[in-house]
């Protein structure tokens, strides 16, 4: 299948990618309503420019994220022009957008790996707690913690690769 020119293509693209696009939009805009707007605008722009999508050049996912990135920049500008009071919920991210996308992918990948692996990576690495302490808390040998770190990192790599990451 080539260009994204039929309504059915858009429907399939939405089913496959809307979750991730929305997740990233919420993270970078910090507002569920704006994120909805961003996803809607992304699919509309994709539809209008459907002729120009070429699967030989890159994946549909990558193309949609590139569109979303532009939409988020546009919405960010619009928002900057009319300052508004934060409505609570998720804080908008302040990193540059490329970095925000990568950060969101790592966070999403962390959510996708198994609970045991995620927990151990969070406690030992992000919170810098000693392996012995985490082992005791979880009631497992210290060696298990070390192996969960290893397998957790490998699972994280697989999850990132599913999202298009290459090193």
């Amino acid at each position: 299948m080539g260009a994204l020119t039929r309504e059915r293509d858009v429907r399939e693209a939405y089913a496959a990618h809307s979750g991730e696009l929305y997740g990233f939009a919420v993270r970078s805009l910090g507002d569920a309503g704006l994120a909805e707007e961003a996803v809607q605008e992304t699919f509309l722009r994709a539809w209008r420019a459907g002729d120009r999508f070429d699967p030989e050049i890159g994946s549909l996912r990558t193309w949609l994220f590139a569109i979303l990135r532009n939409v988020v920049i546009d919405l960010g500008r619009a928002r900057a022009a009319r300052p508004r009071v934060a409505e609570g919920g998720v804080e908008p991210s302040v990193e540059p957008l490329e970095q925000a996308l990568l950060a969101w992918q790592v966070e999403e990948a962390m959510r996708r790996i198994g609970e045991d692996h995620r927990k151990v990576l969070l406690e030992t690495h992000f919170r810098a707690r000693p392996y012995s302490e985490v082992a005791e808390e979880l009631g497992v040998p210290e060696g298990t913690i070390k192996s969960r770190v290893y397998y957790g990192l490998r699972a994280l790599r697989v999850a990132l690769e599913e999202m298009g990451y290459e090193d």
């Binding site: 209008r48 970095q99 790592v106 290893y150 990192l153």
Partner: protein, 237 residues
Amino acid sequence: MRTDDHRDWKLSLGAYALGDLPDDERAAVAAHLEGCEECRAELRSLEGVAALLPLADPARIEQPTVRPPADLGARIEAQIAAESAREGRVKRRRRLRFGFGGAIAAAAVAAVLAIAILPLGSGESSPAQKVDFASLPKGVSIDATLEPHAFGTEIEMYVSGVRSGTLCRVFLRDAKGRTYSAGSFRYRWGEDSHAVLSSALDLSQATEIGVHAGDRTFVAPVDRATALLGGAGIDAT
């Protein structure tokens, strides 16, 4: 025993890549890496991921994955359908004309823009119709969108699941059983099997649409068709 040792070293590589090993263990792993190509390769693959971890915010990791509202997909589709109703005819015909060569293209676009006004006016009472072919053999999928025009009916057809190279001949039939050819195309596996055809029969007169695909014929009623532009919803996930 050698294998178990090796496995132990390997399991330490995660913590090593993250820089979380105590100094003495770190030195021991480094010494092992000197002489073990397999572990060096494994380490390289882990280091790429380990380097990305500082980007992530642990508080965000622990928040549940957010989902778009259930009706967002339907809203997007409705908007696209509306836009496509406004511009689709002009845009699609323009593409077709360009296919015949650049020289006549500009003139053709101007002509098409003029022509397009006619079906828009007369088309409102019978908008584009989407036809789904029911009870097809397993794996075969056919659908068609019919659009009224002054010349007759334009048919966009999508076929998949038949043998590659199959000749597909498309026709419309009216209430008296008269058949009007809409032309033919060849289904190619792996290619965009989306064909645009036309028939002289007015859409308002058409009762059936059919495809002879190889030695089989598939027919679907037109009068039971659902109006595409009425906003047939999609199941948003």
